[in-house]
């Protein structure tokens, strides 16, 4: 979001999901850092259907994901080398005169600075960094530049790096150089990972903005909200999650209210996270199940699931959709809005909403991009924000004619290595991600008979060459250790990972992937580098521990979840 904010003036997905269905053999899809069929199956399905109709599919991913197996061109870059790869693709496009000069001249700025940096990144130069053959880089670049429309899709594969913002800026550079913005079947499209993370951001759950991305530091905005809410407000930017943890240890944050998040499993370096949360004076957790974080809480507030409440969810392509209550909340659990409302009232601030719709209508009065959306309209209409008035049709495609910030801004980006690279002690690289069956920390999916049934236990992907060197066979128990911590799991010997790379998820309580990950983060967004750290994998010899084989993975664990 930060990268796109800088380049275009708006952080959200520029186009809409249903445009994929209109793509044909004259168009192309560039998917980088997204295991789409696994993590966004319906969008992944649309990508494959487009390919079936002749659309070219270019995929950049270190792992041989299903999407990579279907690709016309698969770029297998080393994790943490996306900038070098993207710069080389731009280098090819400029050298072979495939750039959209009209777009560059009329709709962008800072092109010369970007061009100068990119000159160095010939395919041969980038091959040394990325390990992607120069010819493949050329092939991919030509497809992306020559297609009528190329839509780029990305997710955590490029953002969860210390160079996350740089990676996104480079994807934006590539889209601008080829004129793939402000028109259908194109754009730069980050696919959000939670059903309503876009909505959460839209509502100002970020520490620097109010709803609608209005800056907390802007005096006029501050005054507007002070009037609307009848309370003096701070003009300081708040804390991101990593900063919160630091401030807890400095005793500046004494109370933490966590809702719908399980940081003890989803944050990097979870040993450190647990330590910080235990340091708090008071931890309040609001969730639909007793998560590992909730287990540490002083107060647990039971929330309600999607089926038990009314409201709206805002999807990745800025579409605002209704969620409708189908069953009553169980026991004394309540919808989140009601819990918050009661909490606010008991703190002495009048809060007397009769329904989520009432809240939504209040949101519309202070949030220009939502102002034209009503519950009534979205019963029948598909509306993507910005939608400033009730007769406005919404905005499926951003930056038509001009960018949100006016001109699109090129950025000159150099390659930087990830924070922690393999060394003698930790000779393999570890990257983390998801599998189709599970959602994040498994709070919901590991309780699902069907989903958990298809994928009941963790394993670490390791390349056959690396496995052979370590005398590890498929299915062997292994210990996986990083500087932060260690876990035991089964080895899955597969060519899906290249030599030197291993892969694990963060879905399993018994083998929590984030006990291994590095909290080093992008300096601007503070997004942690989940995608790269160094690891040591060893075949497990249970005689080392004197404990019984496999007992911890059996039924006891299922009941514990």
């Amino acid at each position: 979001m930060s990268g796109l904010g800088t380049a275009f003036g708006s952080g959200a997905m520029t186009n809409s999901i249903d445009e994929i269905d209109l793509m044909d053999e004259k168009d192309a899809i560039f998917a980088i850092g997204t295991n789409t069929t696994e993590c966004h199956p319906i969008i992944g399905l649309k990508l494959l259907q487009a390919k079936d109709r002749g659309t070219k599919l270019v995929v950049a991913d270190p792992r041989k994901t299903d999407l990579a197996m279907h690709a016309d061109v698969w770029l297998r870059q080393k994790p943490g080398t996306d900038v070098a790869l993207l710069n080389a693709m731009i280098n090819v496009i400029l050298n072979e005169n495939l750039a959209d000069n009209e777009f560059i001249n009329t709709r962008t700025e800072n092109f010369e600075q970007m061009k100068e940096t990119v000159l160095k990144y010939t395919p041969e130069y980038s091959e040394k960094i990325t390990k992607v053959p120069a010819e493949k880089i050329r092939e991919a670049a030509r497809i992306i530049a020559k297609s009528n429309n190329t839509a780029s899709y990305y997710t955590m594969g490029i953002t969860q790096h210390t160079t996350g913002v740089d990676n996104v800026l480079s994807v934006a550079n590539l889209a601008m150089v080829t004129g793939n913005l402000g028109k259908p079947k194109a754009g730069v499209n980050p696919l959000r990972g939670q059903n309503n993370v876009q909505g959460a951001c839209d509502m100002g759950a970020l520490p620097n903005v109010y709803p609608g991305y209005q800056a907390v530091t802007d005096p006029a905005i501050k005054e507007k909200f002070e009037k609307a809410w009848n309370k003096p407000l701070s003009d300081k930017v708040g804390l991101t999650i990593p900063s919160v943890l630091n401030e807890i240890m400095k005793d500046n944050v004494k109370v933490l209210y966590v809702f719908g998040e399980n940081p003890v499993r989803s944050d990097p370096d979870v040993t450190h996270v647990k330590h910080c949360l235990e340091h708090l004076d008071c931890l309040i957790v609001q969730d639909i199940f007793l998560t590992e974080t909730a287990e540490l809480a002083d107060v647990v507030l039971p929330g309600a699931s999607f089926a038990e409440k009314d409201g709206t969810f805002s999807g990745t392509d800025r579409r605002v959709q209704r969620v409708r209550k189908a069953v009553e909340p169980i026991g004394n659990s309540m919808p989140d809005w009601l819990i918050l409302s009661k909490l606010i009232s008991s703190m002495g601030y009048p809060s007397d909403y009769k329904s989520p719709e009432e809240i939504f209508n209040e949101i519309r009065t202070v949030t220009p991009s939502y102002a034209g959306i009503t519950y009534g309209r979205i019963e029948n209409e598909v509306i993507s924000w910005p939608c400033p008035t009730e007769d406005h049709k919404g905005t499926p495609i951003l930056h038509i004619g001009k960018f949100s910030r006016g001109l699109g801004k090129f950025s000159a980006i150099e390659h930087r290595d990830p924070a922690e690279m393999p060394d003698k002690e930790y000779p393999l690289m570890l990257t983390t991600g998801r599998v189709v069956a599970h959602y994040h920390t498994g709070t919901m999916t590991r309780r699902c008979w069907g989903l958990n049934g298809t994928h009941p236990e963790e394993s670490i992907e390791i390349n056959p060459v690396d496995a052979a060197k370590l005398n590890i066979e498929d299915g062997d128990e292994v210990s996986v250790t990083t500087r932060r911590g260690s876990l035991i799991t089964k080895a899955q010997v597969t060519t899906r990972v290249p030599e030197g790379l291993t892969f694990i998820t963060f879905h399993f309580t018994e083998n929590p992937g984030n006990i291994l990950t590095n909290s080093a983060a992008d300096p601007i967004t503070q997004t942690p580098e989940y995608k790269v750290c160094s690891v040591n994998v060893k075949k497990l010899d249970f005689s080392d521990f004197g404990c019984q084989k496999r007992k911890i993975f059996k039924k006891e664990t299922q009941n514990a979840v």
Partner: protein
């Protein structure tokens, strides 16, 4: 000719909805309480991620089924254009697993078997397992669950008439090449 279900790897997105739909279609209790009731998750179709392809694998309902040929208790029979395992007869000898070239057989704890009385349960805590495989969802309204659920429409139900149609069309196309 036997009817069978087969999946198209070009369309498969590896989501495993087929495994879940299959497992759900073969339990007689509700999936909502399946965890609490400790019902085993036993699909008859298996999503396989191999080196160059991801695709579901399931029984091909062979004409001269090796499994039927080797079963020592004659528990695998040909019926209604399908190869059916008579689970109540299965002694769990596992010969069918060895005989099947596709890998279509699974050994599972079967709910019915759990209720079955066996002299063996006097001497061991082990619960008997039986062989299961794709049975084309015989008796299920709507037919095979995998065909119904797959979001990519990767599965097809192939009957004798479908083979006839496919062959007819291919032959017609071939004639054009001879002119």
């Amino acid at each position: 000719m036997n009817t069978f279900v087969i999946a198209n790897p070009k369309k498969c997105i590896g989501c495993k909805a087929c495994e879940i739909a299959c497992a759900v279609a073969h339990i007689d209790k509700s999936v909502v309480t399946a965890n609490k009731d400790e019902i085993p998750f036993s699909p008859r179709v298996n999503l396989i991620r191999a080196d160059i392809v991801t695709t579901p694998i399931q029984c091909r309902q062979c004409e001269d089924a090796p499994c039927a040929n080797v079963c020592p208790v004659s528990g695998i029979i040909h019926q209604d254009d399908k190869i059916i395992i008579k689970t109540e007869q299965c002694i769990g000898c596992k010969t069918c697993i060895l005989a099947c070239p596709i890998g279509a057989m699974n050994m599972v704890h079967d709910e019915a078997t759990l209720k079955k009385e066996s002299k063996l349960s006097d001497t061991t805590n082990l619960e008997p397992m039986v062989a299961i495989k794709c049975d084309l969802c015989v008796g299920r309204e709507g037919g095979p669950a995998c065909v119904e659920i797959c979001p990519a429409e990767a599965f097809i139900l192939v009957e004798q008439k479908d083979i006839n149609e496919i062959s007819k069309n291919k032959r017609k196309a071939s004639t054009l090449r001879t002119v």
